[in-house]
Every structure is written in structure tokens, then in C-alpha cells.
Amino acid sequence: MSNLVSFGYIVPELLLGAMAVILFLLSAMRRRNLLRKTIFPGLAILGLMAALSVLVNRTSGGIFGGDPGCISGCSLFFGLLATDPLADFFRILVISATTICVLISIGSPALPKGRTGEYHGLLLVMCLGMCLLSAANHLLMVYVAMETVSLCSYLLTGWDARKCRSREAGMKYVLFGGVASGVMLFGMSLFYGLFGDLSFQGLHLALQGSGALSGAMGQWAATLSVVFMFAGFGYKIAATPFHMWCPDVYEGAPTPFTALLSVGPKAVGMALILRFFYSIFLFPGSMETVIGASGQIPWLLLIGIVSAVTMTLGNLAALVQNNVKRLLAYSSIAHAGYILMGVTAGGQEGFEAVSLYMAVYLIMNMGAFAVVSLVEKASGSEELQVFRGLGKRAPLVALVMTIFLISLAGLPPTAGFIGKLYLFAALLERGGFWFLMLALVGVTNSVVSLYFYARVLKSMYMEKADTDLPTIPIRNPAAVTATALSFATLFLGLFWQPLATAARWSATLFH
């Protein structure tokens, strides 16, 4: 599609960008206290809602019957971006995640008061980057969008410059991120050298009939470049062995932003992995055959191994954490592993499971971080011991946290269980020995993970606080958001038909 026509399809991104510019300009003007407090978050939410409503308006016809929208082949800007259900689904997810992040940020002590305008502006730019990344259909676009997301996250991680930990986290993130994107870029350049193309469709065609792959050197180069690119993607979703940055960064970043960081980049990273592997390495119309760069490399099996290692490592490391933010960081690594199970399973079911789990994970994980942010605000720390006695002094907050934790552990009747059900169902439907083994590793991990989630429960309900800890105010946007998310978690655990329909729709690209 030509550039002019294409603009019609990126209205949400344009809106986000425009609102970000407005926010930056406003924050450069003279500041009044009142303005700072309400107008910046207000404007940010306005921008996000506008983008969301455009998106939903466009897609609602597709989700619930009627025209399924542009199925593959509907590419914008001469193939840079794709507009399809997968992209739209993940765009809706990241815009919702950013909205939740803005809501939790209101009144958070972790954010310096003087720079709220820039903070929200950067959030919107990051959201813009994530939207583009979930639609990226071209390695160049992948790189540009990913760097947009990364640069914003580096800044926002180190946002609380008063705190040493936050600055350190920002620095670590920059270093790790820089290396990862460098490696990824190298992989992309190898690809370009081999095939002379960067668009996914072009690469797909090139892989099937390219003379570049006839020699052993060519095959090695192609394999290496895919591995390098996966390093970049894996870094975004915090999959082992590219997860090292995750706990430190999550712990150091301002808690409301950690909530977004644990969900947004992971979601778009997953969307990217789905799109990358399934549009480049698969024969069209067949889910069974995966052509490796060198003919027969079983990429899906390799992703399965990454998945098993990631979840095991994340869960085992989480067992010994005493800081709830760190604990949730390791748990989010584990969840990346769970979601990769769906990628491995592939097919309609696998994709559906990934989309569905991502939506569920967004709700429960951001909810858990919202509660951590509330507790942190009241007691100045997010160590496990400040959660002691929460069940007594703040019963509602503790109850909400309980719902998120059991959902993260994957117990019914919560949404987390439904997510796991879909992932395991996708694996079991595929059959095969390795898929079953992966499912067994997955369920074993669920049991292990229960232990550390239950440690938080134990602190909240069964241990007495050593010192007098403050009660937690619940009449603020963050608490209301958390409560609403907990309702969503329960509701989707009991009736998830709408979400299942949407997730199925998001997977139509791969029919």
C-alpha cells in the first residue's frame, strides 16, 4: 500500500505521537501545581483513549463476526508495517497497559514531582514504539521500533534520579540493551548480506529458493543471524539466557513503570517472535513444516528448550527472593517461559494461547505491581516484611493481592488458570513426545511457583508485623485500578468467552 493510503491505518500511532508532543510542549511552559497534578495524566489518558477507541472501532467488526479485517498481505508503507488481527490485538494490549500504568503512576512517590509532563510524554512515545513493533513486518522497522521502546524504557527506568538504585538500574539497562540490540543488528545485517532483503515476506521467499544457502558458509551465516536476532527478541521478553538485566531493572525502576515494563515489551516481543518465525520459516498454509535457515533446523524445538529453561530458572530464582518486586521480576521471567510454550506449540491453538495468556498476564501482573506500588507508597519499601499483617490492616488490598497471586500461580477460578489451560491445551493437542515433556515441565513449574506466591500470602495473612506499619489508603486511582483489575481477573476466570473470541480472532493471520 502506498504511503498516503497507509496513513489511514496508523491513526492510533499518530494520535499517540501528537499527544506526546503536546505533553512535551506543555511541560516546557511555566508550571502550575494544579496543572502538573491533574492535566498531564489527564491528557495522557485522553491520548491513549483516543487511540484505543480508534483501534477498537476499526477492529470490533473483525472481532465479533463480520469482516475479519485485513488478513496478511495488507501491508503498509510498502511492507514496513502489517495491519492484521495479530497487530491490532497486541496494539490494544499495549495501549491498555500504558493506560493502567498512567493510572497507577498518579501520586506515586517514586516519580519526581517536577517532571510529570516528560514522564507521561515518554510513556506515550514508548507506547507508540510498542504499537509499531507489534505491527512490524520488516527488519528495519523492527529495529527502529525496538530502539524507540528501549530508549524510552532506559530513561524511565532511571527516572527516580534521587535514588541510587534507580540510576543504577537505568545504567544497567542501557548497557545490556545496547549490547543486545547491537547483536540483533548484526544478525539482521547478515541476513541482508545473504538475501538482499529485509521484509519478512521477501525473506520467506528468499529462504525457499536462495542460492546463498547452497554452501556450508551460507547456511552457517543464516543460522547464526537467526540466533543473533533471537538474542535481541529474547532480551525484550526476558527469556533465558538474556534475562540477566530483568530483576535489577525491575527492582530499580519506579514501581508503576515496572508494571508496564513487565508487560508491554514482553507482549510486543512475543508478537514479534510469532510473526518473525511463522512468516519467515513456514511454508504458507502449512503449520507442520518449518524450514530452517539451513534446511532442517528445528527452530520450534529450540524455542521449546528456551521456554523450559526460562520458566525453570525464573521460578527457582524466585523461591529465595525477599523483595516482592524482585520476586515478581523472576516470576515475570517464568511467565515468559510459559508463554513461549504457546509459541512452540504454534498453530491456531498456540497463537490463540499466546494472545490470551498475554492479555491475562497483563491484567494480573499489572495488578500485582499496582498493589506493590500502593504498599510501597504507604510504607516506603517493597520488602516482603512490609507485607506482614496486611490482611489485618488493609483487608481489601490484601484480598486484591491474593487474587492476583493465585492467578499468577494459575489456580482457578482466576484468569491465570484459563491462560495456563490454553497453553497446555495447545501443547497437548500437538501430541508428540517433546510437546508432552514441555507440558510436564510447565505443570511442575506451576507447582514450584505456588511456593513463592504463597510466601507472599503467608506474609500477608499469617505473620505479624514486627513494627507498626501504616494502613494503606484505598481512595486513590491506583487502588481503584487494582481493584478493577482483580475483578477482571476473577471475571475472566469464570467467563472468558469474549477474550477467547478475541484471541482466536488475533490468530486468524495463521489460519
Partner: protein, 531 residues
């Protein structure tokens, strides 16, 4: 199959009660009720809701037609179309006995949770701590238990099965004894480890099932409907899984899940901890109802859906049943804590269920299910009895008492009755079930039955020895002022005691309910086994 919402009401009345308590907790900042008023309000809600459920269960009993082997009182509609999940509740002869047991035991447990008759200065007693939370959780637990026994959709069954975990975890972990946290997490992890295996088994069965139709007539590629899984599918032809026949793999996965709940050796180690640390009413529910879910699950899932694999596992089940009976009885001999002794005796008695049902004979399976009933009421009274002495003496060391018969004659009589019923004295209900199990198992597993019968002697030995140590001999002077049972305890213990005696002489009310269904269940198995 007439539609009826009776089962839905039975299940959700306790859940409504829980919601009611939660609502009052939420509104309390506005209402500003004093703590005592909130406590009493939640107690009243809990008693009323469980009484309503019990009443509805009695109504169900009255209306139930034992001559009909099909599903009765079905409540059936499509729940989640995306996964072909239906809301399907119904009872047959197997589940109605368990629903009756659940209604009865839950009501007794809630009565036992009232602080009536507890010393005024004993503020740390579980019945006086965080009462609204306790009552809400126990009601949720009751709803979960009813749900498990009423569900005829595998997915629903699984959801209810898991819903029970969390309240149980908190009830043990918050209101329990000194090592409550350890016991609670151990219970939680063990059970979850089992249920995730069941989850995999459930999904595997789902994908191996034949195309079918939902209740509203729409076509579905697979089904979770337990009745259809059992009647319209032959999983013997489903090919291999992990190098073994499909039914065998699924059987093993689900069997482990249920065996943990029973609990079967070697998965029983969570039980003594959970029982000892749990407050009395929770031990009552745990022993009275939760353990039965394991056996119920095996009968409902493994026996009905995977008959080939059940045949294959027949001897294995019988052997493990025998190990349970004999091993746990020996462990009982070594116990010094009264509650731990009763906990291990539960392990021993659940072995009879395994042995009985593995025989695939009519007496055997009836004996096994009747054993679930008798063990339900007998172990409930045993735990109540252990609670009585713990409330008074604040310890449960068997050696620490002596000569209590003089001080607490009524208590001694009740305990004697429960002990005798548990060791299988003729004329009491334990005898009927054990006799049926032995009768059924003897022609099939002669050696194992003889070994198990020897286990009964050990059972008698540890019970009689306990009586001797606690009630006979000189009175320990420390306990010369212990009051005898109070009215709350009488209210719990006498009805159970009466049932122990009545069902010992006339077991037909329970046996009649289930015989038709059970015999239908094992008939194909017995034929295939050539019995």
C-alpha cells in the same frame, strides 16, 4: 432427564453466605458494627447457610430415585462455547451419598466452630480469632466440596476441586496449631502437584474424545462431559502417549492426583501434618469429606472413563490398598499425639476403599463406598473427640492423661463408641463396610485380604492401648477438674454417634442409594476381568 436447579442451590447457598459475610465486611466502615456483633453475624450466616444446604440435601435424598441408574436432578447449559465447556450438575447413586456426607459433615463442622462452651479467657482459641474470615472461608470450602460431587463436566469438576485448595490453605495456615504454616503449604503443594497432573489428563482426554453435541444441540469437536466421555468414547484405540498406551498414561496421571488426596502410600505424608495442625472443625472436614474426593474421583474418572487401564491397574490398586491398611496401622502404634494417631488411622481406613474397589465385585465396591460414608462419620467424631480434650487440657499427648474415665464418663463413652466403630466392632457401622470389603476382595485377592484382615488386629491394638493409656488407671491429678462434654459438643457428637449405631445395624438407607449405580459401573470391568 428432568432439569432441576436443586443441586445448584445446594452448591451455591454457602457461596452466597460467603458473599454476604464479605459484603458486611466491606460495609463495616460505614455500619461501624462492633467486633462482637460482626463475629456473631458471620456465625449466624454460616450456620444458617449450611443448615439450608443440609435441608436441601435431605430434600434431594427424599426425591432421589435409587432404582434409576441415570443422572438425576440435572442442571445443564452451555458455559464457555470456545472450549465446549458446559455447566452440568447432576447426581447418581455414587455422588448422592457423598453429597449427603458433605452436607452433614459441613454442618457439624460449623457447629463445632462456635465458641459456645469455650473458656472465657481463652482468646486464642480458633473460634474467637478473625471470625468473619473463618466463616467465609469455611462456607467457600463447603461450596467447593458440593461442587466437586455435583459436577458432571470435567472442567467444572476441576475448577471446584481447585477452589477448595485456597480456603483450606488459609484455614490451616491462619487458625491452625504451632506448625500451621508448614502444614498449610505442604498440603497446598502436594494437592496442587496432583491436580496439575489431573489437568494434563483432563486436556488429553478432551482432545482424544469423539465429536459430540452440546446440550443446546450445537456440534462440538471434543467434550468435557463426563457421561459422554465414559459412554461414547473408547480411549483404548487412542494410540500411544510417551511410549505407553494412551489410557494407561492418562490413568496414571489422574490416579496420582486422586491418590494424593486419598491419601495413598507413598503420597500420604501431607496428611498427618495437615490434620494435626488444623483446627478441629477443619480436621473434621478434611477427614470427613476431602479424603473421599480421591476415591470418588477414581471411581468417577478412572473407573468410568478408562476401564481398560483400570483393569490393568487392578492388582496395583489392591496392593497399595493393603500397604495403606497395614503400614498406617503400624505407624499408628507408634504415635504419641492423639490427633496424629487418628490421622494415620484415616490413612489406614482409606486403604479399605482402595482394596474394595479394586476387586471389581459387587460387595467390594459397595463396601468401598460405604466405607467412605462410615469413615466420614467415624473420623469426624474422632477428630471432634480429640478437639474436646485439646480444648480442655491444651495438649494431646496420649501419655499425658490417664484415668479420665472417672473424671469424664460421658466423654469416655463417646470416645469408646467412636474407637470401636473405627476398629470395626460388629454392630457398629465400621464393621459393615470392612466386612463387605473383605467379602468382595477375598475371592479375587485372597492373600492381600488376609494380610489386610491382620491389619485390623493392629487397629484394635492401637485403639485399645490408647483407651488404656488415656482413660484407665489412676487419674492424673492435673486433670481432676476437667469438665465433661458440653452442649455444643453433644450437639455434634450425639447425632454422629446415633448414626454410627443405626448404620451399623441397618446400612440399607445408604447401600440402597448407591448399589444400582455402582454395580452398573463395575459390571463391564468384572466381565472383562473374567470374574
Amino acid at each position: 432427564m428432568a432439569e432441576s436447579t436443586l443441586l445448584t442451590w445446594i452448591t451455591f447457598v454457602p457461596a452466597i453466605g460467603m458473599g454476604f459475610i464479605g459484603l458486611f465486611l466491606m460495609l463495616n466502615p460505614l455500619l461501624k458494627l462492633p467486633k462482637a456483633a460482626m463475629d456473631n453475624l458471620s456465625r449466624v450466616v454460616a450456620v444458617v447457610c449450611s443448615a439450608i444446604s443440609l435441608g436441601l440435601v435431605l430434600m434431594l435424598w427424599k426425591e432421589f430415585d435409587p432404582s434409576n441408574t441415570g443422572i438425576q436432578f440435572a442442571h445443564h447449559f452451555v458455559w464457555i462455547r470456545a472450549f465446549n465447556i458446559e455447566y452440568f450438575m447432576g447426581v447418581d447413586g455414587l455422588s448422592i451419598t457423598m453429597i449427603m456426607l458433605t452436607g452433614l459433615i459441613s454442618f457439624v463442622a460449623i457447629i463445632a466452630s462456635l465458641p459456645w462452651g469455650i473458656a472465657k479467657d481463652d482468646d486464642h482459641h480458633f473460634s474467637k480469632r478473625a471470625v468473619p474470615g473463618y466463616m467465609a472461608l469455611i462456607l467457600l470450602l463447603e461450596a467447593g466440596m458440593f461442587g466437586v460431587f455435583c459436577s458432571l463436566d470435567f472442567f467444572m469438576f476441576y475448577v471446584f476441586w481447585e477452589v477448595m485448595l485456597l480456603p483450606m490453605y488459609f484455614l490451616i495456615g491462619i487458625w491452625g496449631g504451632p506448625r500451621k504454616e508448614y502444614a498449610a503449604i505442604k498440603f497446598f503443594l502436594f494437592t496442587l502437584a496432583g491436580s496439575v497432573l489431573m489437568l494434563l489428563g483432563m486436556i488429553a482426554l478432551y482432545f482424544a474424545s469423539n465429536p459430540s453435541t452440546l446440550i443446546d444441540g450445537t456440534h462440538c469437536a471434543h467434550t468435557f462431559n463426563l457421561i459422554k466421555l465414559a459412554n461414547e468414547n473408547d480411549f483404548g484405540t487412542a494410540g500411544n502417549l510417551l511410549g505407553m498406551a494412551f489410557p494407561k498414561v492418562v490413568f496414571i496421571g489422574m490416579f496420582i492426583a486422586f491418590a494424593i488426596k486419598i491419601p495413598m502410600f507413598p503420597f500420604h505424608t501431607w496428611l498427618p501434618d495437615a490434620h494435626v495442625e488444623a483446627p478441629t472443625p477443619i480436621s473434621v472436614i478434611l477427614a470427613g469429606v476431602l479424603l473421599k474426593m480421591g476415591i470418588y474421583g477414581i471411581l468417577r474418572m478412572n473407573f468410568a472413563i478408562l476401564p481398560e487401564a483400570t483393569l490393568w491397574a487392578q492388582t496395583g490398586m489392591a496392593v497399595f490398598g493393603t500397604i495403606n491398611i497395614v503400614y498406617a496401622a503400624f505407624v499408628c502404634m507408634a504415635q504419641t499425639d492423639l490427633k496424629k494417631l487418628i490421622a494415620y488411622s484415616s490413612v489406614s481406613h482409606m486403604g479399605f476403599c482402595l482394596l474394595g474397589m479394586a476387586a471389581f465385585t459387587e460387595q467390594g465396591i459397595s463396601g468401598a463406598v460405604y466405607q467412605m460414608w462410615t469413615h466420614g462419620i467415624v473420623s469426624a467424631s474422632l477428630f471432634l473427640i480429640a478437639g474436646v480434650i485439646y480444648d480442655r487440657a491444651h495438649h494431646r499427648r496420649i501419655e499425658g492423661f490417664g484415668g479420665l474415665a472417672k473424671q469424664m464418663p460421658e466423654y469416655t463413652a463417646l470416645m469408646g463408641l467412636a474407637f470401636m466403630a473405627s476398629l470395626g466392632l460388629p454392630g457398629l457401622c465400621g464393621f459393615i463396610s470392612e466386612a463387605l470389603v473383605f467379602l468382595g476382595a477375598f475371592p479375587v485377592f485372597t492373600t492381600l485380604t488376609v494380610i489386610s484382615a491382620l491389619g485390623v488386629i493392629i487397629t484394635a491394638a492401637y485403639y485399645l492401648w490408647t483407651i488404656q493409656r488415656m482413660f484407665l488407671g489412676p487419674l492424673n491429678e492435673k486433670y481432676a477438674h476437667l469438665p465433661d462434654v458440653n452442649w455444643r459438643e453433644r450437639l455434634c457428637l450425639y447425632p454422629l454417634g446415633a448414626m454410627i449405631i443405626v448404620l451399623g445395624f441397618y446400612p440399607m438407607p445408604i447401600l440402597d442409594l448407591m448399589n444400582k449405580t455402582l454395580h452398573g459401573l463395575i459390571k463391564p470391568l468384572a466381565q472383562a476381568a473374567g470374574l
